[in-house]
């Protein structure tokens, strides 16, 4: 299975993602933002970081970079595109997934482990996942998901909410919402569910000696689903 990770100026989780993808069997290629064409890929990842220094709005400049036109075409033809953290911010700026990511409610940069609920299994990303609650890491300043009332109705009707912030038992409540996100939303799909944007970093949870292994569960399942 082939994957591509796009590096923008200011990306800083691109190599972590490369390590994670390779560990679970992907043949990964790093792609520079100024390239025109994507290599043949089964999965394209927009990594976390601070592309273009978060100038103007997080992800807004990266969304207009050269390679993104190929990524958008790839997504529109049904290809799997996953945006993590800053990658999620880039995805909302391209319009591939609905909504925006505002500054965290209490204006703090949040860096901690959180529990997330993934019970939306009718998609390539989470199909066959045994567990409903995973522990992932978040590290962001702008992760406060927001969309208009009409958009919210549409994403709920289409079952596009991918991931919720919750407690270790999967309870989705206000008190487990780290950043003020609408409905505790941590991740969103596009309508067709081939594009996934999420704030948590599964690539930071692939080694017991570092932080945990719930990311391993996610990646192992993902590559099996793509095969």
């Amino acid at each position: 299975m082939k994957s591509s990770v796009i590096t923008f100026p200011g990306s800083n989780c691109d190599r972590d993602m490369d390590v994670a993808l390779k560990k679970f069997g992907f043949k990964n290629t790093m792609v520079w933002h100024n390239d025109n064409e994507l290599p043949k890929s089964d999965l394209v990842v927009l990594p976390g970081g601070f592309s273009y220094g978060d100038y103007l709005r997080c992800g807004s400049m990266a969304a207009k970079s050269k390679i993104m036109q190929s990524v958008i075409n790839f997504a529109k033809s049904g290809g799997l595109v996953m945006g993590i953290c800053n990658g999620f911010q880039i995805l909302v700026e391209t319009g591939l997934v609905p909504g925006v990511l505002l500054r965290n409610k209490y204006l703090e940069f949040i860096c901690k482990n959180v529990f997330v609920k993934l019970d939306n299994k009718e998609n390539t990303y989470f199909k066959n996942l045994d567990k409903k609650v995973l522990e992932f890491h978040i590290a962001h300043n702008e992760g406060n998901y927001f969309c208009t009332k009409d958009q919210l109705k549409e994403i709920e009707d289409n079952n596009q909410i991918a991931i919720y912030y919750c407690n270790n038992e999967g309870k989705v409540e206000d008190q487990f919402n780290p950043n003020g996100s609408l409905k505790n939303i941590a991740g969103i799909f596009n309508k067709e569910k081939n594009v996934l944007g999420m704030m948590p970093h599964p690539e930071r949870m692939i080694d017991q000696s570092l932080s945990g292994e719930d990311g391993s569960i996610f990646f192992k399942n993902l590559i099996n689903n793509i095969k």
Partner: protein, 80 residues
């Protein structure tokens, strides 16, 4: 020709920075404030000399990059 544009958050979007500025001003003794909203201001120098065309050009920039229309409004406030 120089075109100025402001970008403001839409009414129903939470503005935590504006809130904190409001609280700080209040703490400094400015008690008569109902609300503070923070926005962005741009001055764009374009080659176009025709004011209407220059405005259209900057409006297009606002739509495509400077503002995110899900949460923000833009307004061209001056040409010179």
């Amino acid at each position: 020709m120089k075109i100025s544009a402001i970008i403001t958050l839409k009414k129903d979007v939470l503005d935590p920075q504006g809130k904190v500025i409001h609280q700080t001003l209040d703490g400094m003794g400015f008690k008569d404030i109902n609300e503070v909203r923070q926005g962005k201001y741009f001055e764009i120098e374009v080659k176009e000399e025709d004011p209407e065309k220059a405005k259209d050009l900057v409006e297009n920039m606002c739509k495509k990059l400077l503002a995110n229309l899900v949460i923000e409004n833009y307004k061209i406030i001056g040409t010179q």
